[in-house]
Symmetry: C2
DNA sequence: CGGACGATGCAATGCTATTGCATTGTTTCA
DNA sequence: TGAAACAATGCAATAGCATTGCATCGTCCG
């Protein structure tokens, strides 16, 4: 098969299209989480709205997850194979570098499971750390 | 003294003004974290920009802290007495209710201190949980 | 062939945050 | 007292991201 990514999409019940394959490729190629504008740029000059809807579809199908890192723009990163839209496996923390403004996944840092008092019903927990990433910290 | 809030402002090196006293009062009266629009509404019809700058000043002086709960709008809540702009004491988690869209502080839930591998330098950690708050959970 | 459906792309809009600039109000000092 | 100096306020305008409406295109299927 020319495009191994097709299987990835089909496995998530996402109809493969050229656009979607391109977006998926970009996400796979970049370790850091990407914003809508990032993807748009990396794709050359794809239509912003189409990319937006592509990422929305990916999110709804459990292929990527949204990260709100406080930079103002939502970032997206690929999920692990076992994730579903409702239940994300291996919920990990994220790191936002205040210098280069890159957001990276910290797969080794699990989000703690915290019991809340009373009738609270927790659906999702996000743990975002801010500071200097390895590159920027060593660059001074 | 007619306005006990004045002392609070002065202790933070914030010049007391009627506007600032009003904003402080609103923040003190409401347990949940408030967005800019919330404060604007609760104040009657104060100028949005002035409220924005008031909250910015409060944040810089360590009187309130910003909470990015993923709702799209930044929320603000009062700090504990010991907080400074650089070092917030008692860093606690926050809870965002997906039903009533209210964000509340969880003073009893401390943000875990996590050691990161390599050269990472952590400046700030935020822990936001989403789900149903006590009101909405019991309301079905 | 032709309808149905999904994907795409342009245009337009909404919402939040933010800056510029003029005005007001208050403090300070001669 | 009066005027300069400074901070706070408020209106207007702008920027940036997200989102919706609608028309078009392409493909799948009867």
């Amino acid at each position: 098969m020319a495009h191994p990514q097709e299987d990835t999409l089909i496995a998530r019940q996402i109809t493969p299209t050229p656009m979607r394959l391109l977006v998926l490729e970009v996400l796979q190629r970049h370790p850091a989480a990407l914003s809508l504008a990032d993807v748009e740029l990396l794709l050359g000059h794809a239509d912003r709205i189409t990319v937006h809807r592509t990422l929305k579809t990916f999110t709804e199908k459990g292929l990527v997850h949204r990260i709100e890192d406080g930079s103002g723009a939502v970032k997206f990163a690929l999920c692990e194979p076992g994730c579903t839209p409702e239940h994300h496996q291996d919920l990990h923390a994220h790191f936002f570098c205040t210098r280069c403004r890159e957001t990276s996944c910290l797969p080794t840092v699990a989000v703690p499971i915290i019991a809340l008092p009373g009738a609270y019903q927790v659906q999702e927990t996000s743990l975002v750390m801010k500071g200097l990433c390895e590159n920027c910290a060593s660059a001074g």
